[in-house]
Symmetry: C2
């Protein structure tokens, strides 16, 4: 039976062997939700960057620059980190260079995996089906917040463990903990997360609409996949 | 209001400032359960060691040597890592040098904290009352398994967050996750943990009696405290 593990923080990546695994990178609020939305609306590709300057430099190469630091849009960038910005018709067929506080760092730390894909509640079933069809073991890498564990990414990891349980076996305790939390939260994700640290942080920035959207399962069928350093779907 | 945070793995200790905090080190299966049991049965002191050789060297100084690697007693040591071994009359007033795969490593990584104490379900209420009386913020450090997050230590952390919730506020998402898990598990800790990785590992070693005992709250009133590198109660 294939196996699934969950890395609850990018700062724990040294504990996992990834060469035989498909990694699902998740940053629900909001990097991987934005990426999923962008591909569902016809973007050509996304180049993820851990460093802000590397991302900004792509502007000269015709890329839209996008992302945030500490939850806020970066000065000089074309786009921020709200999924609603990525529904714009003008982005169809365009290339985006993307950097965020946590999500693109988690992608960078996943280097060496057999395959890297992007997960969010918005494409939950699509990711589930993708993993079912693959022969590889799975590692869900939660982006967290500056190394600390967060609830929303853990809940998404738990959703995958739960949905795959008949076919893919949990490796260790982190997937079990995530699964328990998801089963407790699944009927009201927004309510369950209302006291979580990042929801509070984003609520101060007045983006509750983003939060509710990012916690809505199965809006899109795309599965962004990283190939040669670039995400395509 | 005082604050409580939870470090789910010793490999995440770099994320926490500990100089103003009382750290509660927890390794339910079985290091901190053994330590609690030993003090409740009249041991004089426990010197914790991260390295096996450092621990073994204490034999020449008249210490009982104790602990495990990978769940099994170390060759040449006087005592293993079952709490029942620490109920022996002959240990009264004696000094123990202790090393384990995870628990004593977590103590070593907690260096620099304002205070370090030892927690287990066996002394849950005693630790709760100790933290209520202190003016310090709290960090629960879960020993985990070789850096990976485990359920039993997370549940203990969640028990503290739950029992202290009227008086000490959670800092971040890790304490909330632990609290949710504890509330889900509290009526049947043994049942909740039956699929966890370490319980399975220990079940193979035929020590289910240890597991049930280590998950029993409030057997003892002692609170071991680290002072000058030595635990006393």
């Amino acid at each position: 039976m294939k196996r699934i593990d969950v890395c609850l923080s990018p700062d724990l990546m040294h504990l996992y062997t990834v060469t035989d695994r498909t990694i699902v990178v998740v940053d629900i609020l909001r990097a991987t939700s934005c990426m999923t939305t962008a591909f569902a609306h016809g973007i050509d590709s996304i180049a993820p960057f851990a460093k802000l300057d590397d991302c900004l430099a792509m502007k000269a190469k015709g890329y839209y620059t996008a992302g945030e630091r500490d939850g806020q849009k970066v000065e000089g960038f074309d786009l921020g980190n709200s999924p609603f910005e990525y529904m714009d018709e003008k982005l169809k067929g365009k290339k985006i260079a993307f950097t965020t506080t946590n999500g693109t760092q988690a992608i960078a730390k996943s280097e060496g995996a057999k395959e890297i894909i992007i997960g969010s509640f918005l494409n939950l079933s699509a990711v589930t089906n993708y993993l079912l069809k693959s022969d590889d073991n799975v590692l869900v890498v939660c982006a967290g917040w500056k190394g600390k564990v967060n609830l929303e990414d853990t809940l998404f990891a738990g959703a995958l463990v739960e949905l795959l349980k008949e076919h893919i076996e949990p490796d260790c305790d982190a997937p079990l903990a995530a699964q328990h939390l998801y089963n407790q939260a699944k009927n009201d994700l927004v309510g369950f997360l209302k006291n979580s640290s990042h929801v509070k942080r984003l609520a101060r920035l007045n983006i509750l609409k983003d939060i509710e959207f990012c916690l809505t399962p199965d809006q899109y069928h795309v599965v962004p996949v990283l190939r040669d350093g670039v995400l395509k779907s």
